[in-house]
Symmetry: C2
Subunit: 373 residues, 2 copies
Amino acid sequence: MKKHLTFLIILVGFSVTPCLAQTEKTINEDFKPSTLNQPGQEYPQVNSQGYARFRITAPEAKNVVVNLGPGGTRGGTPLTKTEEGPWMGTTAGPLDEGFHYYHLTIDGGVFNDPGTLNFYGSTRWESGIEIPAHDQDFYALKDVPHGRVQQILFPSKSTKTSRRAFVYTPPDYEKSQKKLYPVLYLQHGWGEDETAWANQGRANLIMDNLIAEGRIEPFLIVMTYGMTNDVKMGGLKNFDITPFQTVLIDELIPFIDANFRTLANQPHRAMAGLSMGGMETKTITLARPELFSHYGLLSGGTYSPDDIKDKSKVKLIFLSCGSFENAAGVKNAATALKEAGVNAVSYISENTRHEFLTWRRSLYELALLLFKD
Amino acid sequence: MKKHLTFLIILVGFSVTPCLAQTEKTINEDFKPSTLNQPGQEYPQVNSQGYARFRITAPEAKNVVVNLGPGGTRGGTPLTKTEEGPWMGTTAGPLDEGFHYYHLTIDGGVFNDPGTLNFYGSTRWESGIEIPAHDQDFYALKDVPHGRVQQILFPSKSTKTSRRAFVYTPPDYEKSQKKLYPVLYLQHGWGEDETAWANQGRANLIMDNLIAEGRIEPFLIVMTYGMTNDVKMGGLKNFDITPFQTVLIDELIPFIDANFRTLANQPHRAMAGLSMGGMETKTITLARPELFSHYGLLSGGTYSPDDIKDKSKVKLIFLSCGSFENAAGVKNAATALKEAGVNAVSYISENTRHEFLTWRRSLYELALLLFKD
């Protein structure tokens, strides 16, 4: 377990190797507002090559830096005060496609860019920017029937409060009052919360589109907060799964099965998570194999054949990561599981790191495989 | 109409008369983190008298001001750089009870306080702080059955997109698949959006508590974005209701009636709104009296007896505001309506202004009266 945790801590840390496209010399002046900007905000902007340009108004500031660099790393982009007034700057290289968290450092203090929407990551509400991906169609808002994202408050005796979860219900959920659905319990990463998979991950739109295309049979997705014991920066090595496992197994699952039309049995229950959520998934699925049949670790480690005590209970193990992460480790783990007789599938997201485009694509690929056996 | 709009523009403007408690001389040193702080954040803090204290880290900044002053006005609280490093400051007087929007001005730029959650107001995501109200129990999160807040995406031909709305469904909504419910369409104010009534307004918790106490029969609340034509600062006088009316009447209501178990008729359909949402409510209910039977204007103007063409169609007119707003105008309007034979009720929220505690209380009072006839 300790080895696995160390691996995860490395994964969770911010990538430090910018993927600079050294041949890129001319910056195309076709910048447009990022799709994640607050209503009416012109900046930040993104161009067709994936460069991001920032504009911040702070006339008396000494120093303004955007904590986002080429690739999508925290490398940093210093802004310069323009003659017109605002501070402006462009990333030194293109960003990876997809979603990136960032923030500003203004005169030594950490603030958000007032131009963008906020997303919960790194245990704070952060700024977000979106570099349009060449395959963005699969998570686009389209003119198709839409499911709902239902905020529920469920009673939790173990934590002495009502806890929040979000439940994706597919478009046909309200049509028939008899149909029962499989359920995927889907966990966020370290420093994120139950809002991440819908906001940053666009899980509902990915599902709506897959269902509209007839590529999957509808299922429910349940998303709740997985950092029950308040893991702080660097505290992951002291992470104790017990409080969250109690909330999930003893409180949330029974509540979902009692209040939604679920197929309330092991063959129709899956668990997956990204990064730290993968660690949680691995620990909980191995501890309670009678509850889950489909497991997914998205940039969240691997299972070894020895981990699986009763192979007949496991219908699918899905392992994924970005190509700039430990792709070989993920592929080799899936191969070893397959050789041991487990239905394991690996997926590598091309040209992405430990970020949400990896996980949007991973959810898409996972959804295609779930509950098909 | 023009006169009404001018009145509203004044209402919508920030209050400028701080209610300084001049006798308050000693500040109690019993400050605690605001309940709206981000997880783990110690500041801002609030004391038992309603003073707020702020701490901002920005070591190299020249000037840090919190745009929130006594009462809850934008009066401003300048922070001072402490020897330990952070900028700190306390409001010059107590704030009114309830929720207040605010932001920081750092070296001339507008940013949010990284300590707090964000709330959409003034057409931007703003910082928020909560001064515990003496009557906060009615909107507290309690150990009672909770309804859901369901995010839906409904097709809108008139605006060529899928639009978002939130639907509060009461705790018993899933229990019986036959029960039909009345519906309240509830609008936010200028510069806010469809998230306001659940986030700032705690509409779902107000309903959960009223239902748990057996004080009301459950109904649905539908909340959507009412600034369809993108009203910007000062543009309210050019506001055109038509695009929003089309979305609400021709698109949202039919969608709700088709996808939720509603009592889809005029006697069981209400519309209410705060501030600009009151203006929308007044205009739309008067234009389409065959659709709505219960009207509510919360700090959102008044109806005159002449406005009501067919008194038999109107079951309730609810008018409210804070005691620091135009309370006499609201009371007089209700009296005039009653004298003209309309079932009108006025409600004045004690010691509040044009802010969300006024509207939380107003929703509570309105809910007690809706659909009872």
